[in-house]
Structures are given as C-alpha cells and as structure tokens.
C-alpha cells in the first residue's frame, strides 16, 4: 500500500523523517535535507563569498556527508567557496589508518585537496605510543586536546578562513547535557554557538548543527556514500556514553527532544556574578588557552618527562606537581 505522503509530489513515500515524522520520497528528502543545511548556513552567516573552508574530515559519516553536501550547495547556490579537506592522523592502528583510506577516496571523488597532519609529526607522539604510556584510561584526554590544536595548526598551514566540523544536532544536545552534568557553565554557553570565533584562532562552524544524526545516516545510506563506521578501539568514553543513552531514550519518547535541548541551551543565560575563565594565550606555544600554559603543552610535557598522568585532572594540580619536580627551572619551559 502506498504510504500517504506529506509533500504531495506524487511519488510514493519511502521514508519517515526522524526529525519531523513526515513521510517523504527519496528525492524530496534530499531536497529537504540539503535545503535545511543551506538555510542554516545562510541564516547563521557561516561563510563569506570567496572563503577558503577546511572541512575537518575524519572519514566518518558526519564529515563525509558534510563534504558531499557542502560541495553540492556550493555549486548550486554559488557560495563561491574553495573547499579543502583536513584530516588529523592520531596514529591509532586499526582505526585511523582505515578511516583515512575513506578520506583519500573522498578526496578523489569530490575533487578536493586534502591535507593530513599526524600527531607523530606535530607532537612526536602517536596515540598508539601514548596509550602504551598512560594505559587505556584517560587517553581520550590526550587525543581530544591534541586534536583541537592539531586542527588549528593544520588550518593555519592551509591558510583557510574557516573550519567546518561535522558536529550534528545529537552531538550538540549531548554536549549540553554533559556540560550540565559536569557543571561546566563556560562551555555550556559556548557549546551551542553555531560559529565559535576566538581571537587568534580560525573560526569554527557547525553547518550540521540542526541536522539529526539519524537523517545523516539516512542521507548517506540512500546516496550510497562511502564512509567508515567503526568505534575507536581505545576506550569508548564511559561518561559521555551515559549522556548518549539518555539522549537516545529521550529521542525515542519525543523526537523533538534533541531540538528542545538545543533550544534550552541557546536560551540559557549565565548569572552575571559567575566567574568564567579568561581567554588568554599559552606562554609556551602561543595557542589560545585559559591558563598560562595550555593543556596540550602540559600533557606533552608530562609525556616527555615520563609523568603521563601530569595533565590529567585540574591544571592547578599539574602546576603544583611541576613545581615539586627536582628541576623547577624548567617550569616555565
């Protein structure tokens, strides 16, 4: 029996949109999906004409779909963007090496230049080596901190105007929940921004901010996009897992929950008397940091000194630990 069809284009519907519950045919879904991202981009003024945009490509579904959609929209609506792919190789055997193959294929398919930066070459440590030092617990701290900076460095090398990341609506809602659970009000406020501009860094934007993860999978499935879908082999982060399961439960109850949470995040306001960290610059590497010495430098210092646990936890503790070292002369690097 043909399914009643919301957009009335005459075709039989083949899918139900996870976001709105409407039934659509394949073509109309593509249009809806792409138009929504187009409207997110134009309403949020994410790009300017002539911008060079780096797509943070991991080879996963979000970045693959992002690359495909940005390419399509760029041609269709004349954004006049120059798109490049930027990948970070953390050096995780059995995970990143495989996913980078996907990125390489994407590069040929979408005809975009690709730049790969590796942790090994930036920091002298690959994740495989780091895990050998610190063990399976807390290694995500290293990976996350290093990647954020690596992306910035890569973007500077490529001389781009903007980095586009593949964060989707589910990711944002999850982060809102996480930041509440962790009591991190500074990030709670920042995490819903569609575009983050900090002085001294390249702006980052999230064109998929209002796109549901399920729809991204659906889009990739129908378009038969080639993406890599394996969980990282090192420590799936337990705590975020809780928030993720909770969000999925909510979505099942009420699909609009994800948008509701983002809405909550957007309208929340932090009390004036709450002290927020000041944005400064790391005295060692010059990248943006809220501390004198940024997390990446502390972590790296810890690794190089054979104290891998140094940067895990509060920065103040790390500073104390550094001060207690027999050779405090090196404290300020």
């Amino acid at each position: 029996m043909p399914v009643l069809y919301s957009a009335k284009c005459g075709q039989n519907a083949v899918l139900k949109r996870p976001k709105t519950g409407d039934t659509l045919c394949k073509e109309c879904f593509y249009w809806a999906f792409e138009l929504e991202i187009h409207s997110t981009i134009t309403n949020g003024n994410l790009f300017k004409k002539g911008d060079v945009v780096a797509i943070a490509a991991s080879g996963g579904k979000d970045s693959t779909v992002l690359a495909q959609v940005l390419k399509t929209l760029n041609e269709r609506y004349n954004y006049e963007l120059k798109l490049v792919l930027l990948s970070i190789d953390e050096g995780i055997t059995g995970y990143r090496d495989d996913s980078l193959k996907t990125v390489l294929e994407n590069k040929d398919e979408y005809q975009m230049p690709l730049k790969i930066l590796s942790y090994q070459q930036l920091y002298g440590w690959s994740m495989d080596k780091i895990v050998a030092e610190v063990g399976r617990k807390n290694n995500c701290t290293f990976c996350g901190v290093f990647r954020r900076q690596a992306l910035d460095r890569g973007a500077m090398l490529l001389n781009v105007d903007c980095i586009a990341t593949g964060h989707n609506a589910d990711d944002i809602a999850e982060t809102v929940l996480m930041n509440i659970l962790r009591g991190d009000v500074a990030r709670l406020q920042r995490c819903v921004n569609i575009i983050t501009i900090t002085e001294g860094t390249i702006p980052r934007c999230k064109p998929l901010k209002y796109t549901y993860e399920k729809e991204i999978v659906m889009y990739a499935y129908f378009k038969k996009l080639n993406y890599f879908s394996t969980e990282c082999i090192f420590a799936p982060n337990a705590y975020r897992g809780y928030a993720r399961t909770f969000l999925k439960d909510l979505e099942r109850l009420k699909p609009s929950s994800i948008m509701d949470i983002i809405h909550s995040g957007e309208t929340m306001c932090i009390k004036e008397n709450v002290k927020l960290p000041d944005i400064g610059v790391c005295t060692k590497c010059g990248f943006v940091s809220s501390q004198d010495i940024c997390k990446a430098c502390i972590l790296l210092e810890g690794l190089n000194r054979g104290l891998p646990k140094l940067g895990i936890g509060k920065s103040s503790k790390a500073n104390k630990a550094l001060a207690a070292l027999p050779n405090p002369r090196l404290l300020h690097f």
Partner: protein, 438 residues
Amino acid sequence: MCSVNEEGAEVFEVLKPIEPLELKCRKCLIEDGNVVLQKKFVYCKTCFVPMVTHKFRATVGKSKLVNRGERVLVCVSGSQSSVSLLHMIWTGLQQSTYKRLTFEPVVLYIDESVLHDYPLDQVKKIKELFEKYGLTYHIVKFSAAVYLDNCLNKDTNVDQYNDKLQNIFNNLSDLTLKEDMLMKLRKRAITKLADLLKCTRIMTAENEHKLSIRLLSNVALGRGSQISLDIGLAVNNKNNNNTSLVTIRPMRNLSAKEISYYALFNKLDDFMHSNFLTATSEDESIQKTTERFVNDLQVDFPSTVSTIFRTGEKISEKTSAIAYCLLCQGIMEVNVSPSSAMEATKYSKYVSLMGVKALKLSLKELKNEETNEKNCNGCKCRNKQDLKEKIIESLCYACTHIIQELESLDDLPEEILNKEKERLQFKKMEEQIKDFLL
C-alpha cells in the same frame, strides 16, 4: 563521532575502595552512628537531626528574604519532604528554640483527589495533622484553586470545574505533557492562593534530588531559560509587580536521604501524593526517564545530583526579557535570531511539507496556503482554530507543545483567556494608532 569534547575530557571522580567505616558518630565521637551519609560520614541520631535542621535554617537565614512577621505560605503536598518542612517550621516557632523563627506561616494543602485516587480519609488525616501543629491552615480543592477567584469559600460547588480540569488532562494523551501541565497549573494555583491569603512569600519543600531532576527534564522539554524560575531559591513573581511574590525552597540543600532520616527519627508520617507519573513505567515520559538517568548515574558518581544542582544555580533568566508566557509565566523567546533551534524546527516542518516546491515558495506563502485550506467557510471551528493560533503567540516554546495538543481551549482557566483577549485588544489599539506614535 569521537567522543571527546572541545578541549579534552575531564577526569571524573574515581571511587576509592571502600574503607571500613568508623562506628562512632563523627560529630560527638561518643554515640554509635545511626546514619551514613555520602557513603562515608557517620552520624548518631542526636547529632543528625540538628545538623539537618541547621541546613534548613541556614538556607532560610542566608537568603534574608523573610522579614519579621511576614506571612509565608507553606505548601504541603503530603510528601515526606513537605511533612518534614512543616515539622521544621513548627519546631522553629516554639518558644524553647534558640533564635526562634519570626515569620507567620500559613499552611496550605491543595486537594488533588479529583485527578488521582486518594484514600477517602486523606483530607481528614491531613486536617488532623494540621490541627495538631496548631498553625493557621487552609485546605483547598485543586479545581477551585485553578478556576475560582473565591476559592477559599468552602461551600462553592466545584463539580463543573472538576469536569473542566479532568477534560484538560484527558485531552492530553502524552504523559510528559500531562505532567508538565499539572506542574504549571499547580504553580498558578499556589500563586493565586498566596495572593488571596495575603502572603508575600511561598515556601515549597523540594529537595536537592528532586530539583536536579527537574532541572534536567526542563532542559529536555525546552525550558532552559526558565530553570532559575523552577529551581531557584528566590524567584520574583513578575505577574504581580506591586506585591512581589517570592518563592523560597528552604529544603533545596538537603538530600532525599537526609530528609527521610529526619522524618524517620521524628516519627513523621507522610501521605499519599500522586501525580500523573506515579506508577507509570520509565519509558513513558521524559520526566521519568530523566529520573532514572539521574538515579542510575548517582550510584556510580555520587556527586551527580549536587553538580547538576550547582550548575542550575549559575543559570539565570535573561534580564532583558520583555514578554512572559501566559501559561507558565516563564520568559518568552522574542526576537529570536534566524539562526536558532526554533527557526530551524519551523523550517524543517516547512521543507518536509513542501518537498521540492519549497524552492519556489517562501515561508509566508505557505502560511497563506495553509490558512486557505483551513477556512471551512467561516464556521465556528475556524474561530477556535484562530484563537488557538493567537494564544500560541503568547506562549513560550514548551507551553506551545501543551496547548497544541488540546482540542479546545474552553477548559482553560478564564483568566488566561481573558488576558489573551486583553492582549489582542491592546495589539489592535496599537495597530490603529501606530502611525501617530513618535
């Protein structure tokens, strides 16, 4: 996606292996302990009760919100928390207490038996309890409090209002919305009664645990901007500028466990108090799912509740707000930027209704087309639809979800409808004179 946030994950508290607990109370070091808090602090009965009372007194005192002789409406639902609150206030008022409480409590019980099945003698028992304490008290039927201005008059027949109230909730099939609506109507009722009873402060008995669950479910419902209104210590009620009604939650620094031990040691009985979620499964409503989530997490990470709670304390209302929701008095989202979840949701609905056609038509044209379809030749149903659309304009994001589910607005309290009419009237006036306003 990789699961690490912007600047790297932070490390969470690691549970230390359980050490054998001290047997003696950590305060007096003489008595054997009766209670263990946070898995490590041992208290005896004689030290525990003053400790809890002190937390309550400190919350009331620190806020400096209650003046000497001020009339305070104390809301009692029959829960362990509220019964304990009543007991603490009563104890604080006794002559023998050091630093006696000096406000004048007015105890309130709202009888919700019209919505839930309570034992028949519940009201009688509550009455006995209130009599025992000898404080001024009022027992009011929920429907009377929602619909009537003279709800303190016990002789009024409330049958028709009972029907109206039940109608509203029967119309809402979704448990999440049902519970949300109940909370909002309760709040309205309490605010109204405080006004009628000339109270300028309201005390409710929510504990830390309950408030953090409420915070998280509020976020999930899209009520993020209203968090401080729902969990804060003191909330100015903007509804009434000249009297400035403030809600105080003096139990907010106490955990559910502390309260149950307080009730146990003082032999306080609690009463049946239900809401729509009582005895429903966790997979049926957002509030219950949130509750399970927080409870589960609390087991592994004992600081969960207090962290959520303290995050909530740092969130405030937007000070620049000019409009308040007609139903919940929360902040309204006016002048939303085009790049927001609200607009994105509207746009999604629009594109998936239009498909490829979306390219040609703009959003406005769609609205016109929709209204054309809806017009069934000026019959009554159109008027109703019209009023609903209008009223939605003066509701906040989350309350629109509730009202959209309602079939008819006739069962809503008259004041809401009147206010809306007033607003529309005012808008019309503004429209007429707008060219002459400088």
